[in-house]
Structures are given as C-alpha cells and as structure tokens.
C-alpha cells in the first residue's frame, strides 16, 4: 500500500520551523561534556602524576650494588687457636669483616700495612658482611682454608654513590663518601667487580639499621598473617551480619541502630580502632603486643563495615524473583538464602571483601598503638610473634635519617602499590566477569 513514489504522495503541511535555540543549546551540551571529560582527566592526571613520581623515585631500590670478592676463609683469622671443635662459639664470634677487608685490599692493591689507607676503606663494604660470611662458615665449616667468590653488599653510601645519587660537587668533608672511595669504586666498576644486581634482599631481609641489609621480609609475612586473619574473620562475620540485616531483620529501631553503626564505623578514623585494640585486645584480654594476630583483629573490625556494605548491596542485587521461586517451592528462608541468594551474590561479596582487604593492607595508624610500628628483625613464626606490616615499614623508613632509606621507602611503596593494585584489579575483573544483568 505504500508502493507509490513519495513525490506523488499527499504532502502534509510542513509547519513553519520554530526557533528553539538549538545552537546555544548544543554549545551548552558540548560544554557540559567537556566538563565531564575534564573531571575525569583531572582524576586520571593525578593518578598518573602520583604513580610517576613514586616510580621514578623508587625503582632504583630494586637494584643493589655488590662487590664480588674472592674471600679466603683464612683459618688464622677465623679460628686462630683452632678451638672450633670444642667451642662452636668461635665460629660465631670470629672477625669476619677482616676477611672481606683483606680480600678487598688485595683486589684494590692496597698494602694492608698502610694503615691510613686501610682506614679509608672503612664504610666501603656493608657491616652485613659479618653475618653473610658467618652464615657461610657456620653452615659449612669445611670452607675454612679455601677461597671462594662471594658477593658482598656494598655499604649504603657506596650504593648511593654507585647509582649516582650523591652530589659529588659538595665538598668532601660534607659527604659520606670520600674521593678516595669514589676512585676505588670507579676502579672496581671498571673491572666489573662492583655491579648492580637485582635486590632480592629487599624482599627477604627483616628490619635493620643498615639500609643495605634492611628489607620487607618481616613486613610481608606480618601483612600476610593479618590478611589471612582478616579474611577468616571479617568475611564470615560480615556475610552473616549482612544476611541478617538484608534478609531477616525487620525495619525497626534496632536495625536502624545497627545500620547507623555500620556506616559510622566505616567513617571512624582508623586510629580510633587502634585505641580500641589497645584497650580491649591487649589490656583487657591480655593478648601479646606487636603481634600480627592483634593487628589482624583490629583490621578485621575496621574492614567489617566495608564488607557488610558491599555484601548487602550484592544481596540486594539478587532479584526478588529468585527469592519467590525458592520460597514458592517450600524452601525455608534460611535455605533460600544459603542455597540461592548467597551463591548468586558471591562475586559481589568477594569484590567487596578484596577492596576491604586492600584497604586494611594499606593501613598504618591503628597498628601504631598496638605496638606493630616496631623494629623487628626476626621472621615471625606464628601470628603471635612480633611482626610489622608493609605500610608500617614504609612509615618507619620514611622517618629514617639516612638517605638510602628514602629510596627503600619509595621501593616499598611501589611494592605495596603493586599488591594493592593487584587486589583491586582482581576485584574489578571479578566484578566484570560475574556482573549479571537480571
């Protein structure tokens, strides 16, 4: 019926075009969009700037200068009176730095008798060499008398100098590295004895007062314990609380009270949770100080609101039709929740949990009051042993006087950010993967 050509068709009157200010309105439209783009750019620009500043400051921390020296495990120095068979302490107390110094002097061609020269070598190699060499000998006393190549850490100042972070224009007396040391450094650099290696120690060492031997080993373990505790406690409790509030609770004063409480706890400054932890867990319940367990409990309380809020949203997103379907079949409410709603809400709950965990992972203030901002050199074997956490390590390094720590701090921030981003991205991917459109 519409197969007639258009021009023969009855022409409806085209009414006069009204002026509805289109030009100005489209300009406004464009402006509005630009505001939006601007807003987003501001956010992203800040993100980029922050990431760039942090990375550019910290990436050098992942490299560490070492000096490869042929160490002669001289029995005369380690155990001059040959008592090690009877007194194992001999191997522990021996003067290991001397071994390293001797090797270095040999390498540099310094006459050991030239005392003033030898003195200038002080502070070239890390004090950590003592422990490093001792561990080799204690593990295998048969090395005594042999010569081995060992990678000895350079002292922090030399490390900085090697990386070019020390301003050589400053007069020598004001520097931590002398001109002579620089010369030696260049000599060793030339023959490849001194070189940068990937800084494994940053991940394995515990706290130390020497930058080159300090690492985040204890902090990583401590943070790991705390995250496990938070996960084990906050997830079930949070989910249970959300289920109650979302599925069972009648709207009344009591549930309002809980709701206000939860929202409020999400906004309470984190240090206040530290006060709570100190008062309740340590003073009242007598739990140990500095322990990852207590830290975990405090962070659990801090994370709970986040998890509850996310879980409730996830539960509420499950469509009512699923609920009616289950109830209509004669499932009890409990069965409905645990067999249908909860599995369907799981991705949302997981996302919320990961975000909550990420937040807990980055938290310093509450740990300050329960003794976790501390110098801990030994690995914690259980969550009840003293430990620190990643952000705490950052905080402590930030407060160090030695400059080499600043570099480590930035490195530690990068590591923490990598962890956090990994968690956040997991959450985002999870959410995207399981996002359900009902």
């Amino acid at each position: 019926m519409t197969d007639i050509p258009l021009d023969t068709m009855v022409r409806a009157a085209a009414p006069a075009r009204r002026d509805i200010g289109l030009k100005a309105r489209y300009a406004a439209e464009r402006r509005f969009r630009i505001y939006g783009v601007l807003a987003i750019s501001v956010g992203l620009a800040f993100l980029a700037i922050m990431l760039i500043t942090i990375v550019s400051k910290g990436y050098t921390a992942f490299w560490q200068t070492t000096v490869t020296l042929p160490i002669n495990f001289d029995e005369k120095i380690i155990d001059p009176s040959n008592k090690r068979a009877t007194d194992p302490d001999v191997l522990i107390k021996a003067n290991y730095p001397k071994l390293a110094d001797k090797a270095l002097m040999a390498k540099l061609g310094i006459d050991p008798a030239n005392k003033p020269m030898a003195l200038k070598l002080k502070g070239f190699l890390s004090e950590g060499a003592r422990v490093q060499l001792r561990d080799i000998v204690v593990a295998d006393p048969s090395v005594i008398g042999t010569t081995r190549n060992v990678d000895i850490l350079a002292a922090a100042n030399l490390d900085s100098a090697f990386k070019g972070q020390i301003d050589l224009n400053v007069e020598e007396a004001r520097r931590k590295v002398s001109d002579q040391q620089i010369a030696w450094m260049n000599q060793l650099k030339g023959d490849g004895t001194m070189a940068e290696h990937f800084n494994k120690g940053l991940f394995t060492y515990g706290a130390s007062s020497r930058p080159e031997t300090s690492g985040m080993g204890v902090a990583i373990i401590g943070s790991f314990y705390m995250m496990v505790i938070v996960l084990l406690l906050a997830l079930p409790i949070g989910v249970a609380a959300s289920i109650y509030l979302e599925e069972f609770a009648k709207k009344n004063r009591f549930t309002d009270l809980i709701e206000v409480n939860i929202n409020n706890l999400a906004a309470v400054p984190s240090i206040v949770f530290g006060l709570l932890g100190l008062a309740v867990f340590i003073n009242f319940l007598g739990m140990p100080r500095s322990a990852a367990f207590v830290g975990g409990l405090v962070l659990t309380l801090m994370t709970l609101p986040t998890i509850i809020i996310a879980t409730r949203a996830a539960l509420a997103a499950v469509p009512p039709s699923i609920r009616s379907a289950a109830l209509g079949l004669g499932a009890s409410k409990m069965q409905m929740v645990f067999q249908h709603i909860l599995p369907l809400a799981a991705p949302g709950i997981l996302t919320g949990t990961i975000i909550g965990l990420a937040r807990a992972l980055g938290e310093t203030a509450p740990l300050l009051l329960i003794g976790m901002v501390a110098f801990v050199a030994d690995y914690p074997k259980t969550p009840f042993d003293p430990a620190t956490a990643l952000p705490v390590q950052i905080y402590m390094w930030a407060n160090e006087a030695e400059r080499a720590f600043v570099e480590r701090m930035s490195g530690a921030i990068i590591i923490l950010l990598v962890f956090l981003m990994a968690m956040n991205i997991t959450a985002i991917v999870l959410r995207r993967r399981f996002e359900r459109r009902w």
């Binding site: 003592r130 007396a173 706290a207 020497r210 100080r289 500095s290 003794g371 110098f375 050199a377 030994d378």
Partner: protein, 318 residues
C-alpha cells in the same frame, strides 16, 4: 617470652635499633629484641602497666621519667625501675647548604620566634618578619623556622635552653607582669602567624621543608644533621659549632640526655635482658668511637658512662 620488648621514644629508636641488631648478631642464642616506636609517653605508659610476660621490659625515653609516672608505675606494681642514661642528643639549627653561615645567640631566636616582644616598654605581637630585623648580622631572609612540635621532648629543651635563656625577663617585668610563672609562660610562647612552623613528624619532614623552602631554618638532632651534612649547613650557637665534642664537653648549650628504663623484675627472667643492657652500656656501643656515636649520639664523658654501668650492675633503682 624469649624476646626482649622495648618501646618508647622515637629519638632513641635509631640507637636502640643499632644496639638491638648488633645484639642479635653477637648473641646468636638470643633473639633480636623488638623495638617499638611510639613516643616516650606511650612507651612509659606500657612500661608502667605492670610486671610480667605481657608487659614490656624497657622503655626508651628522650626525657627523664616524671614523678607522676613513677607513681603510676608503683601503683601497678612496677616499683623497681633502673634508669640508664645512654648519652646526649644535640639540638642544632641548620639551613640549606647553599645558604650563608649563621651565628645565633638565644636572644636572636627568642626575638625571631616569640609570640610577644617588649617594644618601647609594651608587650606587643612580634613585629619581626626578617632575620635581619632581629640581628643585622643575620641574612635578610623571611623568618621561617621549622621547630619541633609540642609532642616532642626536643621542644622542651628548645624552650628552656633557647627561648627562656634568650628572653629579656626584666623587660617583661617592666611591662607590669609580676608573676614569675606568667613571665616564664610569656617567654616560651611561640608566635602563631606561620613564621614558626611546628613539626610533629620526624626530622625527615623538617628536611623536606627545608628542601622545599630554601630560606627556612630547621631544628634537627645532631645525628640527623650529620647524616645529611651534604644538604644542610649548621649554625653556631653562641659561637660554638655543634659537634659531638663540643656537646660532650658542655660548650654547646643546647642538648638533652637520652634514657632508657629497665624493669628490674624482668632481669634474669626475660632471656637476654641483662646481657642486652650490659651490651648497650658497653663502650663498644656508646663510647666515643662506637656505632651510636657515629650515628650521632653524643657520648657521655667516660666517668659518667662508667657510673651508669656501675649503677646498673649494682641494681640501683629509682
């Protein structure tokens, strides 16, 4: 518990850390002590909580323990406290390395930083905006001083040794304030117009401020300054350049003692506690050539160090 627990002052923390680390390395049968930071107050508070496994063994402090605190300690059963003075902390003024040399006297500092000055016989808000107005010999820089915040023990030293010392009490009295206490208060009140900036963080933060404001003057611990001597230039006070020597000899006026307190009841109970304290007090650690001195601790004179060792060995309590 097989690990010594230490808490307290963040000024003492770096020294305690060095000792703890070396202690752990030397005495392999003991674990490395745990050293918390968190401030003298919080440290002493934990210390005074009682005796037993779940309380700390040592409190580091950058000030002497107060009477009230000793009393609270006793009330909780911590009666026998051994005080150990490990050395001194010098408090220095420093500017950016590129700046001119500074020579200060307490009166300069008072005139530059006090909240109120006596001008023409009247107590008025501090009118000085440039150092050169305070003392023509000082550079023509806007006053911008980064001083320790009130939470720091250093602040107290700063107030008594510099402000109070530089304060012209007679002039204040002449304005009609008769109460000595009131005068004392006026002397140490610091201006709040942004020229004097409290720093509650550590010296790193002060350094960051100087870094970003090249005409700022910062207050540092000697140790911190020495670690950053390539960035900072130190000012002399009363023509004495601060150094471990001048401070130890008492020539440099601004310094304070550092302490730690040991719970006697824990000695011989917590493994290694006694050894730790002895190790700490050894000249190897706090002597003039020791790592702590190298880090910036001002060693006490020989006799004083010896008396500390003797007092500890004798079990002298407060």
């Amino acid at each position: 518990r097989d690990q010594i627990q230490v808490a307290g002052s963040s000024t003492v923390l770096p020294y305690a850390k060095i000792v703890a680390e070396q202690f752990g390395e030397t005495f392999t049968k003991f674990k490395t002590p745990v050293v918390e930071s968190g401030g003298s107050g919080a440290g002493i508070k934990e210390f005074c909580k009682g005796v037993g496994e779940d309380t700390i063994d040592i409190a580091n402090s950058s000030r002497p323990i107060k009477k009230d605190e000793i009393k609270s300690c006793a009330d909780a059963g911590v009666k026998d406290i051994q005080e150990v003075r490990i050395g001194y902390d010098g408090i220095v003024f420093a500017t950016d390395i590129k700046g001119p040399d500074w020579a200060l006297v307490p009166a300069d500092i008072y005139k530059a930083l006090a909240a109120k000055l006596v001008v023409d016989g009247k107590l008025v808000d501090n009118p000085n905006t440039k150092w050169s107005q305070v003392n023509p010999k000082l550079p023509d820089w806007d006053i911008a001083a980064y001083i320790p915040g009130e939470k720091h023990g250093t602040r107290e030293v700063f107030e008594t040794k510099l402000l109070d010392a530089g304060c012209d009490k007679a002039a204040i009295k002449a304005t009609g304030i008769s109460d000595d206490k009131e005068i004392g208060k006026t002397c140490i009140a610091i201006r709040k117009d942004g020229k004097a900036v409290d720093i509650d963080g550590d010296y790193t933060e002060t350094l960051a401020r100087i870094d970003s404001n090249k005409t700022g003057v910062g207050v540092f611990g000697l140790a911190f300054y020495e670690n950053n001597a390539d960035k900072l230039k130190v000012a002399s006070v009363e023509d004495v350049v601060p150094s471990t020597e001048t401070i130890a000899s008492g020539k440099y006026p601004v310094s304070r003692p550092l302490f730690f307190y040991v719970k006697k009841a824990h000695l011989g109970v917590v493994p290694g506690l006694k050894e730790y304290v002895e190790f700490f007090l050894d000249d190897q650690m706090i002597g003039p050539e020791s790592p702590l001195a190298e880090y910036g601790l001002v060693s006490a004179p020989d006799a004083e160090r010896q008396s500390q060792r003797d007092a500890f060995a004798a079990g002298k309590t407060m």
